[in-house]
């Protein structure tokens, strides 16, 4: 009944709007628009979560009203436009724009929609080793993995709400001058599935429901203008991320042997915590402020010089950690003739991120009470880096319908995180174990990229372009010493003390999905096959590899061909058809740890 009232109300509103239009026409203003109102019924079979990934599942099995309104109106001095839609309580939105006398512009927008998430059933996490019993059969062993879904009927989704509003005011006393302010609010609410793991790593995995309520607020304000030869702009931006939901809690149980259950010392001598309730999956509030300034100058008729500076600071309100971003950029654009164009750019930035000292209780390898091994380490952020980039771009027009462009880019990136090492101990003298660190990996990445582009127009018959890019990179970003363990250091076995059958050793395998050599080519064209048919076709192919890794060679092949065709056999019948094929083939190295202790 309520929906019927809404439907009737909307229809009446529609008739009223039509009357208003006629009245406004008499006054010399104008108003054009389209309005739709209707109802829809949603039904489903089997599992609607994936088929309806972006629909409101709770509205299925019901009839809902939907509406759409599109208005454009104004007079000699002002213009406004409104678009609004309503599909259900979770799926709706509007856009509103207002421009008055070329002085003030304002735009406001709101969108709301649902994204349904998956629910991991965890059923694959169910296994236990089988030990030969000596008589041709098996007995259950100690190593096992099992799962518990604490929310088996849980439905997980995000509700997104996005609001933007911006207002700009032209400055009549300044050429191209304007001041502006903007606000952007993103809200994400709902529930997601989070996992917890208990002691002995992944033996017991639990699925839990976690409330999500996150808000990101962004303010921007700035000033643009031109003074003589100089064009300038400055912008200040502040962004806040707020986690409005409480962190979930999990009870970590007493660590005990999975089979005999009573030998707690076997594990508890080497645990940081057990038999306690702690928060997990916490997202930290953080604040980011950003200053950006740019200046551009036209020198003569053929030269343009430009430069910019950016400073950004981000603060983690939970840990107190912060990082800063400093960036300088400069560019020179030169046009010596009608056929030539040269652009040169230089760009550098530095990210300084606070280190985090991981302070662990001393590890007790020799007995249950005395900690004698120190595994504390200083975590260096992977974001921390210095980058220098130079780029040269040359364009030459071969004729009236074709041109060629060549681009070269050189990058140097210095990352301290790539020098972090692994630690282990030599136990030849059990009372005085010797700490051993692995060899640091090189921290500098050098990349050169060359790109060539050819573009041809075919008059009214269409156009096509061909481009090829070669990239050579030395020591691209990777996770050094990430996988595969060395043998124990020294000659003394630590296995015989009755408690410890495994000890952390140095890892030595480097892993990455970044290539050292990359060939990438693409062709794209638009062709008019007849007055009634046009074809757009494209293909991209890439062959990439990394032969600098120490335990395998990374390779990646990419092939993406496709086409779109449009045809209208008669003035009242139109077809559009498109097809895209995506193929990605790649490889990775696995070193599964075999749990034993």
């Amino acid at each position: 009944m309520r929906k019927l009232r809404i439907l009737l109300g909307a229809t009446i509103l529609l008739l009223g709007a039509g009357s208003a239009v006629l009245a406004d026409d008499d006054a010399g203003t104008f108003l054009d628009g389209t309005a739709s109102v209707g109802a829809h019924y949603g039904d489903f079979s089997d599992n609607p979560q994936k088929a309806g990934e972006f629909i409101s599942i709770e509205d299925l099995g019901q009839t809902n009203v939907h509406m759409l309104l599109d208005l454009l109106g104004g007079d000699d001095a002002s213009l406004f436009d409104i678009q609004a839609y309503y599909f259900n309580t979770r799926t709706k939105g509007f856009d509103f724009g207002l421009h008055t006398s070329s002085l003030v512009s304002a735009n406001f927008s709101y969108q709301s929609f649902v994204h349904n998430l998956g629910h991991d059933t965890l059923v694959n996490l169910q296994a236990r080793e089988a030990n030969p019993d000596g008589a041709g059969g098996f007995t259950p062993g100690g190593k096992q993995i099992y799962h518990t879904d604490n929310d088996p009927l849980g439905r997980y989704y995000y509700q997104y709400q996005d609001f933007t509003g911006d207002v700009s005011i032209d400055l009549p006393f300044l050429a191209d001058g304007q001041v502006y302010g903007a606000y952007h609010d993103q809200r994400r609410t709902g529930y997601k599935q989070t996992m917890t793991i208990d002691h002995c790593a992944f033996c017991h995995v639990e699925g839990n429901s976690q409330r999500v309520d996150e808000e990101t607020r962004t303010w921007r304000s700035g000033l643009d203008g031109t003074l003589g030869l100089f064009t300038f702009n400055y912008e200040f931006k502040r962004r806040e991320y707020l986690n409005l939901a409480n962190s979930p809690q999990h009870r970590w149980k007493n660590a005990s042997h999975p089979v005999n259950g009573g030998a707690q010392d076997e594990f508890s001598s080497r645990l940081i915590f057990e038999d306690t309730t702690l928060p997990y999956a916490s997202a930290a509030d953080n604040t980011k402020t950003n200053h950006f300034g740019a200046l551009k100058a036209e020198v003569g008729q053929n030269n343009v010089l430009s430069g910019s500076y950016t400073y950004r600071k981000q603060h983690n309100d939970m840990t107190g950690q912060q990082n800063t971003f400093d960036s300088w950029a400069a560019a020179w654009s030169f046009r010596p003739g009608r056929k030539f164009r040269v652009n040169a750019k230089f760009y550098t930035y530095e990210i300084k991120a606070d280190d985090y000292y991981v302070d662990l209780p001393n590890f007790r390898a020799q007995d249950t009470a005395t900690g004698n091994l120190n595994f504390d380490w200083n975590r260096v952020s992977a974001a921390q880096r210095k980058v220098y980039r130079g780029e040269l771009d040359v364009g030459y027009r071969l004729g009236k319908t074709n041109l060629i462009k060549v681009n070269w880019r050189h990058d140097e990136t210095d990352r301290d995180a790539m020098t972090q090492t692994q630690t282990t101990y030599n136990f030849d003298d059990p009372a005085n174990p010797v700490e051993i660190a692995s060899t640091p990996f090189a921290n500098k990445t050098t990349t050169d990229r060359i790109r060539a582009l050819y573009r041809q127009r075919l008059g009214r018959q269409g156009s096509f372009r061909l481009d090829y890019t070669y990239t050579n990179s030395q020591k691209p970003f990777m996770n050094p010493n990430a996988m595969c363990e060395e043998s124990l250091e020294g000659t003394s076995s630590i296995h015989a003390n009755g408690r410890l059958y495994y000890f952390q050793r140095q890892r030595y395998g480097n892993g990455t999905n970044q290539a050292t050599q990359s060939h990438r080519g693409s062709a794209r064209g638009t062709f008019r096959l007849s007055d009634k048919t046009s074809l757009n076709a494209f293909v991209t192919y890439a062959k990439e590899k990394n032969d600098e890794l120490n335990i395998y060679q990374f390779e990646r092949d990419v092939l993406i061909p496709g086409f779109n065709i449009w045809t209208a056999p008669t003035p009242k019948l139109m077809f559009t058809f498109g097809y895209t094929y995506n193929s990605y083939k790649s490889n990775a190295n696995l070193c599964p740890p075999i749990f034993d202790g």
Partner: protein, 124 residues
């Protein structure tokens, strides 16, 4: 892959059909993992499996767990009838379908959703 068809049949009647089809497939190759080489002199855990082989882990079927295969189709068939110069009625059926050929982590995600819609549009 997508296909859109729009036809104005008469001055009053028109219809349209939109569909998008996506077929996705992904899998890992199988891999060989050798048993760990443990010298006889090393004392091993009493829980360690395999007796004399000192290793009984079987990874021969692990690649099957990575197989993913989805067929997704979305389509809308709509008709429109012009009742006055600036007003028309419309009706549509939207069908969204997923076929989960190799269900795994998230269970069987095969299913379908239908929407039946009726309404009126006015331009002014």
């Amino acid at each position: 892959m997508f296909l859109n068809v729009t036809q104005e049949m008469t001055d009053k009647w028109g219809w349209s059909f939109d569909t998008a089809i996506a077929y996705s497939k992904g899998n890992f190759d199988s891999f060989f993992l050798p048993e760990p080489a443990i010298p006889d002199s090393v004392t091993i855990s009493p829980d360690y499996p395999g007796g004399s082989s000192k290793g009984a882990y079987d990874f021969s079927e692990i690649q099957d767990y990575s197989d993913l295969e989805y067929l997704q189709i979305e389509g809308t068939l709509g008709v429109r009838y012009q009742i006055k110069a600036r007003s028309s009625l419309y009706g549509s059926v939207t069908w969204m379908m997923t076929e989960d050929v190799k269900p795994y982590v998230y269970g069987d995600l095969s299913g379908a959703v239908w929407y039946y819609a009726l309404g009126m549009t006015s331009t002014f």
